[in-house]
C-alpha cells in the first residue's frame, strides 16, 4: 500500500506492506539513522519524531503514519542546536544510539525531568553524563 506523509519536511510516498513497521520502511528509504536494535521498543535506537513526538519505529506500523509528519536525524541541518550540543559535549562513543537521543532531546520541553525524558533511550557505551551535559547546554 502507498502511504503519503511529510518525511523530513518534504511530501513523500512510502510503498509499504500492511504489516510493516516504520523502522523497516524508513531504512529502505535510505534513512540509516533509524536503527533496529531491541525490536521491542525499549532501547530508543529507532526513535523518530511523529508530529514532533518521539516514537519507536519498531513498534509503529508504517501504515499509521499516513498524513502525518515524520522527522529523522537526516532531516536536521548541521546548525541544529541539539546536534551541535551533542557534538560539543562529546556525548557519544560508538554513536549507534545517538540519533535516537538527539530526537528525544529535540522533543523535550522546558521544565521536563531530563532523566525521565531520556528513560526510553539506552546507551550501552554509558555516555549519560555527557548526554546530560548536552541537554543542559540546549536548555541554556
Amino acid at each position: 500500500m502507498n502511504v503519503e506523509l511529510i518525511l523530513n519536511g518534504r511530501a513523500a510516498t512510502l510503498d509499504v506492506r500492511t504489516d510493516e513497521m516504520l523502522l523497516e520502511a524508513l531504512r529502505r528509504e535510505g534513512l540509516r539513522s533509524v536503527r533496529e536494535t531491541c525490536a521491542i521498543g525499549v532501547c530508543g535506537a529507532c526513535t523518530v519524531l511523529l508530529d514532533g513526538e518521539p516514537v519507536s519505529g519498531c513498534l509503529t506500523l508504517a501504515a499509521t503514519v499516513a498524513g502525518r509528519e515524520v522527522t529523522t536525524v537526516e532531516g536536521l541541518d548541521e546548525a541544529d542546536p541539539v546536534l551541535r550540543a551533542f557534538n560539543e559535549a562529546h556525548a557519544f562513543q560508538c554513536g549507534w544510539c545517538t540519533p535516537g537521543f538527539v530526537l528525544t532531546v529535540k522533543a523535550m520541553r522546558p521544565g521536563d525531568d531530563v532523566r525521565a525524558a531520556l528513560g526510553g533511550n539506552l546507551c550501552r557505551c554509558g555516555c549519560y553524563v555527557k548526554i546530560e551535559q548536552a541537554v543542559r547546554a540546549c536548555a541554556s
Binding site: 536494535t37 548541521e78 557534538n87 554513536g95 545517538t98 528513560g119 539506552l122 550501552r124 554509558g126 549519560y128
Partner: protein, 678 residues
C-alpha cells in the same frame, strides 16, 4: 561535525555486496543433544541450505582450543547452530530456517562449573585437544578426561607455612552471574569468495586472529583471506575471534554469491557472554594487618566452547591475588566446559569476577582484624620495587594514590558507614605485537593500523598522536578501516592496549619516515606466564585503579541506592581527554549494572531473559553521582583506560553494603539477596 552525531558513520551491519544473500540459522533448543537427522525437503528452491555433514570435512576452529565445528553435529548449548540457510531476503531466510526439521537425541547436560568438574560429570568435549595453531599464543593446559579445558596455577612461596604464621584467617566463596555485552549493534558479517580468495567484512576486534583461524579451517594460506573491519556499534569483547565469519564464508561458497548475516537481539544472548564464575578466597594476616598468605580458586564457566576462556581464567587467577605484597600465594584457576552458551572476552576480562571475591574478602579480613579496610589495604598495596606473586618486580605503580583518591572522594575516613572501597590491578595483553604504517599525501598523512573502532575512538587517539608527532592538524591525518590486505599486523584490539602499543609504534614509524614518503613502526611486548607456576611476566604494563561507593539501603525492600560512585584510574598521560573520560564513565556504569542488576538467567540451559526489557542495562535514571580522576605523571607512559574502572565498582558497592550489615556474596546484588543477607 562528528559523523556519529549526524548518523553518517556506516557500521559493519550496513555493508552490502551486489547479489548478496541473507543468512539465518537453525539453533538447538536443547543444551546437549546429538543431531540425528536434518530434513531440509521443505526449504524453498531459491534458498541455499547447509547441514552438519556439509561442513564436517573442515574440522574444527577456535582461538585457544580447536573445539568448534562450523555447524554442530552435537549441539552443546541451547542456541548452538546446527544448520544454516541463505536466501534473497532476511525474512525469506528466516522463514526457510523455520522449515528445517532437525531430529535430536538428547544427552545429559551439565549447567554449573562445580557440577562439571565433579566425578562422573558428562564430558562435553571427549576429544578436546590443545590448539596446534594457537592464535592467541597462550599455553593451554587441559586436564585429560575432564571438562577442564585449561588450568592456570600460581605457586609463590609456601602457603602452608604462610597460614601457619597467620593470626587471622578468613575464607569465603563468591559467585558472579553470566552477563550480556549487549552492544547496540548486533554481530554482523558479510563473506564473498573471489577467485578462491575469501573476503570478509566483519564487525570484529580481531581481524588478524580471525584470518589465522579461518585459514586453518579452510586450509588456505593466510594471504588468501582478507578481513575488513568497519566500525562497530559497540562490542565490549563480544565481537572477538571467529563468530559468524565461518558460517557466512561456508554459505557464500555453497551459494556462489556473497552472504550476509546480522543477528537478532535474542541470538546475541546465546552467542558469547561473560563467564559466570565461582571464586573461593582464603586469606591470612598477622594481627597487625600484614598479609602473609592467600589462596584463590576460580571456576570460570566457559560454556560449550573454550573460545578465549583459558586466557580469561589466567587473568582471573592473577587479578584475584590483588595489588598486594603477599609472601605466600597459591592460585588454581580453571576454565570449565558446561552446556551454557560460550563465555568469552568481556570488558574486564576475568578481573571482574575475581576482584569481586578478592576485594570483598579484604573487608571481611579487616573486620576480623579490627582495622579499617582503607588502612589494611594501605599497609599491603604494592609499591615500586615490590614483587608480585608472579615474580615480577613492580614499576610505575600508583595503587596507593588511586586508593586514597577514591577514599577521599567519598569522605571515607571521616565516616566509613555506607561506604566501600576497592583497588585493583589488571594486566595488558602480553606478549603482543603492534605495527603501524604512515604515508605522506599531498594534503597530509594516511596512517594504517588494524586497531578497530568500536566507540573507544581509537582513530581519534591515533590522529591526535600523529598530529603531535608530525606537526600537523588532526584533521590532516586519515585513518582508514582495518583491512588485513592493507593494514600492517596487530595482535588485536583488546585489553586496552591500542593507544599504548600503537602510540609507541607510531613514534617508530614517524622516525622511520623522516623526510621520506612512508614509514613503518613495530613494537613488541615480550613475556607471558608459565601456566603451571604462574611465574614470568603477566603484563609489561599494569592497569591500575580504585573505586569508592557511597550507598544507602532500604531495609524494608532490600533496595540499594548508590549515592555516589568514584573511580581513580592511572592514566600516565591522557591522549584524548573526552575519550578518556567517556571510557571511565562507561566502565563505571557497566560496573554498576554488573553490581546491581545485570545477570543472564537460565532455566535448564535456556536463557529466560534474552531481550533488553528483561535483561536490564543501565539507563539515564540509574546513573548515580558519578565522579572520577585520571591520574597523570609528566613523561609517563600512556596507560590504556578502556576497562580499568569496571571491575572495582561491584566490590566497592558490595563493601559499602557490608558496612551496613548486608554481606552479599553473589552478583548481581538484587534486593532479594540483600534481604537474605541482612
Amino acid at each position: 561535525m562528528d559523523p556519529r552525531v549526524t548518523a553518517d558513520l556506516r557500521y559493519s551491519c550496513e555493508v552490502e555486496r551486489p547479489g548478496m544473500l541473507h543468512a539465518a540459522f537453525v539453533r538447538s533448543p536443547h543444551p546437549h543433544a546429538r543431531v540425528v537427522a536434518v530434513d531440509t525437503s521443505a526449504v524453498p528452491g531459491d534458498a541455499v541450505v547447509m547441514v552438519p555433514a556439509d561442513v564436517a570435512h573442515l574440522g574444527r576452529y577456535g582461538c585457544q582450543v580447536k573445539d568448534q565445528r562450523v555447524l554442530a553435529d552435537v549441539a552443546r548449548h541451547v542456541g548452538d547452530v546446527v544448520a544454516a540457510v541463505a536466501a534473497p531476503t532476511r525474512e525469506a531466510a528466516r522463514s526457510a530456517a523455520r522449515l528445517v526439521d532437525v531430529a535430536y537425541e538428547q544427552l545429559p547436560a551439565v549447567l554449573d562449573p562445580l557440577d562439571a568438574v565433579a566425578r562422573g560429570a558428562p564430558l562435553i568435549h571427549p576429544q578436546a585437544a590443545a590448539s596446534a595453531r594457537d592464535a592467541v599464543s597462550i599455553d593451554v593446559r587441559p586436564i585429560a578426561g575432564t571438562n577442564v579445558c585449561h588450568r592456570f596455577r600460581i605457586r609463590h612461596g609456601d602457603v602452608a607455612r604462610g597460614f601457619a604464621d597467620a593470626d587471622v584467617v578468613v575464607e569465603e566463596v563468591f559467585r558472579t552471574a553470566a552477563a550480556a555485552h549487549a552492544p547496540m549493534e548486533p554481530h554482523a558479517a558479510v563473506a564473498e569468495w573471489r577467485d578462491g580468495r575469501l573476503v570478509l567484512w566483519s564487525g570484529t576486534q580481531t581481524p588478524f586472529n580471525t584470518r589465522a583461524d579461518l585459514a586453518g579451517l579452510f586450509g588456505l594460506p593466510e594471504q588468501d583471506i582478507r578481513v575488513i573491519a568497519p566500525p562497530m556499534g559497540g562490542s565490549f569483547g563480544a565481537k572477538t575471534f571467529v563468530r559468524l565469519e565461518a558460517l557466512v564464508a561456508c554459505l557464500a561458497r555453497r551459494a556462489g554469491r556473497p552472504v550476509k548475516a546480522v543477528l537478532d537481539r535474542g541470538e546475541e544472548f546465546v552467542t558469547l557472554n561473560r563467564h559466570p564464575a565461582v571464586v573461593r578466597v582464603r586469606i591470612g594476616a598477622r594481627s597487625g594487618g600484614t598479609l602473609v598468605a592467600k589462596e584463590v580458586d576460580c571456576w570460570a564457566d566457559t560454556g560449550a566452547y573454550a573460545d578465549c576462556g583459558p586466557g580469561v581464567a589466567t587473568k582471573m587467577g592473577y587479578a584475584g591475588v590483588g595489588p598486594y605484597r603477599i609472601p605466600h600465594v597459591r592460585v588454581d584457576s580453571l576454565a570449565v566446559y558446561t552446556n551454557l552458551p560460550p563465555g568469552g572476552a568481556f570488558r574486564g576480562y576475568g578481573a571482574t569476577q575475581s576482584v569481586w571475591a578478592s576485594e570483598r574478602t579484604m573487608d571481611l579480613l579487616a573486620g576480623e582484624l579490627g582495622i579499617s579496610p582503607l588502612e589494611l589495604r594501605r599497609r599491603n598495596v604494592l609499591r615500586d620495587g615490590d614483587t608480585f606473586a608472579t615474580g615480577e618486580v613492580m614499576r610505575d605503580v600508583h595503587f596507593e594514590e588511586c586508593l586514597q583518591a577514591a577514599a577521599d572522594a567519598v569522605g571515607y575516613e571521616a565516616d566509613p558507614r555506607g561506604k566501600g572501597l576497592c583497588v585493583l590491578l589488571k594486566g595488558m595483553q602480553t606478549p603482543s605485537r603492534a605495527e603501524i604504517a604512515v604515508e605522506r599525501t599531498p594534503v597530509g598523512y594516511v596512517v594504517r593500523s588494524a586497531s578497530c573502532e568500536m566507540g573507544q575512538d581509537v582513530r581519534q587517539s591515533i590522529r591526535l598522536m600523529a598530529a603531535q608527532m608530525l606537526g600537523c592538524e588532526p584533521g590532516q591525518v586519515e585513518v582508514p578501516d582495518p583491512d588485513t590486505d592493507r593494514s600492517p599486523f596487530d595482535t588485536r584490539t583488546t585489553s586496552s592496549r591500542s593507544t599504548y602499543m600503537m602510540g609507541r609504534a607510531l613514534a617508530e614509524a614517524v622516525r622511520d619516515m623522516g623526510d621520506g614518503e612512508r614509514g613503518h613502526g613495530e613494537v613488541r611486548n615480550e613475556g607471558g606466564l608459565d601456566p603451571d607456576t604462574g611465574q614470568g611476566v603477566a603484563s609489561t604494563h599494569w592497569h591500575q585503579g580504585a573505586a569508592a561507593a557511597h550507598v544507602s539501603l532500604d531495609l524494608e525492600t532490600g533496595r540499594t541506592t548508590v549515592e555516589h560512585l568514584h573511580a581513580s584510574v592511572y592514566a600516565g598521560r591522557v591522549v584524548n581527554r573526552p575519550g578518556a573520560e567517556l571510557q571511565n564513565e562507561g566502565s563505571m556504569l557497566m560496573g554498576l549494572g554488573t553490581a546491581l542488576f545485570e545477570g543472564i538467567e537460565f532455566a535448564d540451559g535456556q536463557v529466560t531473559n534474552a531481550n533488553l526489557s528483561d535483561y536490564n542495562v543501565p539507563a539515564a535514571g540509574d546513573v548515580p553521582r558519578l565522579t572520577h580522576d585520571l591520574v597523570e605523571r609528566d613523561g609517563a607512559d600512556v596507560h590504556g583506560l578502556g576497562e580499568t574502572a569496571l571491575p572495582p565498582v561491584p566490590p566497592a558497592i558490595g563493601n559499602a553494603l557490608a558496612s551496613l550489615g548486608a554481606h552479599v556474596t553473589e552478583l548481581p546484588i538484587t534486593p532479594e539477596r540483600v534481604l537474605e543477607a541482612l
